[in-house]
């Protein structure tokens, strides 16, 4: 009886290559980011973000300890450390048509102090692909609430 030989053919080599590519792709997808972040030196920093004229329901939904994400790249941009609420200042028009600064009783100006960890760059900090810079305005959110905020200072 003829004995069957197990020979490696070109088709086996092709399948092996596909397998290796799949394994490499899987590793890059799930472990690539961690590897890159290790090569960058990260420092802790805090920054202040102001919400101009936030409604009561947005103000009440902000909580110390909640993680904040940016609305452009959906990166984690830190954790709320402190919340300061003041009545919202706004431009108002008097009956004679002149404009003055007044207060809106139904809205609040909110200043969030956010603690984050990122790589220092010339204009601020880089958190992954997202850059935190002074005067940056963007949509931000936590798991529970969405708002439009402006970064007013970085420590």
């Amino acid at each position: 009886m003829e004995k069957r030989k197990h020979r490696l053919t070109w088709f086996d080599c092709l399948l092996l290559l596909i397998l290796l590519a799949l394994v490499a792709g899987t590793c890059l997808k799930f472990f690539g980011r961690e590897y890159t972040s290790l090569s960058n030196e990260e420092t802790n920093f805090t920054y202040r973000m102001k919400l101009f004229g936030a409604t009561d329901f947005v103000t009440e939904a902000l909580q110390v300890g909640d993680s904040v994400y940016d609305g452009s790249l959906n990166s984690n941009v830190g954790v709320i450390e402190h919340i300061e609420i003041t009545p919202a200042e706004t431009e108002v028009t008097r009956s004679d048509g002149t404009i003055a600064i007044g207060t809106d009783a139904s809205r609040n100006d909110v200043v969030l102090t956010i603690c984050a960890s990122g790589q220092e760059i010339e204009a601020g900090y880089r958190l992954g692909d997202y850059k935190i810079t002074d005067t940056l305005s963007d949509v931000f959110y936590t798991k529970y609430v969405l708002w439009y905020g402006t970064i007013t200072s970085i420590d």
């Binding site: 069957r4 197990h6 020979r7 490696l8 053919t9 088709f11 086996d12 399948l15 092996l16 596909i18 397998l19 799949l22 394994v23 899987t26 997808k29 799930f30 409604t55 329901f57 947005v58 009440e60 939904a61 993680s67 994400y69 959906n74 984690n76 706004t90 108002v92 028009t93 008097r94 009956s95 003055a100 600064i101 007044g102 207060t103 809106d104 009783a105 139904s106 959110y141 936590t142 798991k143 529970y144 609430v145 969405l146 708002w147």
Partner: protein, 156 residues
């Protein structure tokens, strides 16, 4: 013509490699699916529908299904309804404060909606895919009422 030419006879290595490829593909699928950290819950949240004509406030009832009219997604079922006077702002020129005053003929309808949700560490969605997040603008239909407003609260 020789019929043997068209016979495919996979050898031991072929079978082994195909099995390995299948294992890797399945593992990648299950890892990526598990990575979302989805968790199913029942959640209550509130939506404030603004500036509704007074005669239309009773067009929604407890038990009605709420549909997001932007993406046509199921938002859940109404479990409670609160009707308040609609408000507008008016400047008090002595104090320079914009005060809230009632808007004649209009109401705000606050719907409490309950839905089954999937949650991650950064989002809450109904099982239909509707994003539940306070501050998001809403345009929805509930019963015979169709109106816009904001998502104003989520039970934590």
């Amino acid at each position: 013509m020789d019929s043997k030419m068209f016979k495919i006879r996979p050898n031991f290595f072929d079978v082994l490699l195909i099995a390995l490829v299948l294992i890797v593909v399945l593992a990648a699928y299950f890892i990526s699916r598990g990575n979302d950290g989805d968790e199913k819950n029942r959640r209550s949240y509130t939506v404030e529908l603004m500036d509704i004509l007074d005669q239309n406030v009773d067009k929604v009832a407890v038990g009605d299904t709420v549909i997001d009219k932007v993406k046509n997604l199921d938002m859940g079922v109404v479990t409670d309804i609160e009707v308040q006077p609609a408000m507008t702002t008016q400047l008090d020129e002595d104090t320079m404060v914009l005060q809230q005053v009632p808007l004649e003929g209009y109401s705000s309808v606050i719907l409490t909606i309950e839905s089954t949700t999937t949650e991650t560490e950064y989002s809450i969605n109904t099982t239909s895919g509707y994003l539940i997040r306070i501050g998001v603008e809403v345009y929805c239909a509930a019963g015979a009422l169709e109106a816009g407003g904001y998502l104003t609260g989520i039970a934590r």
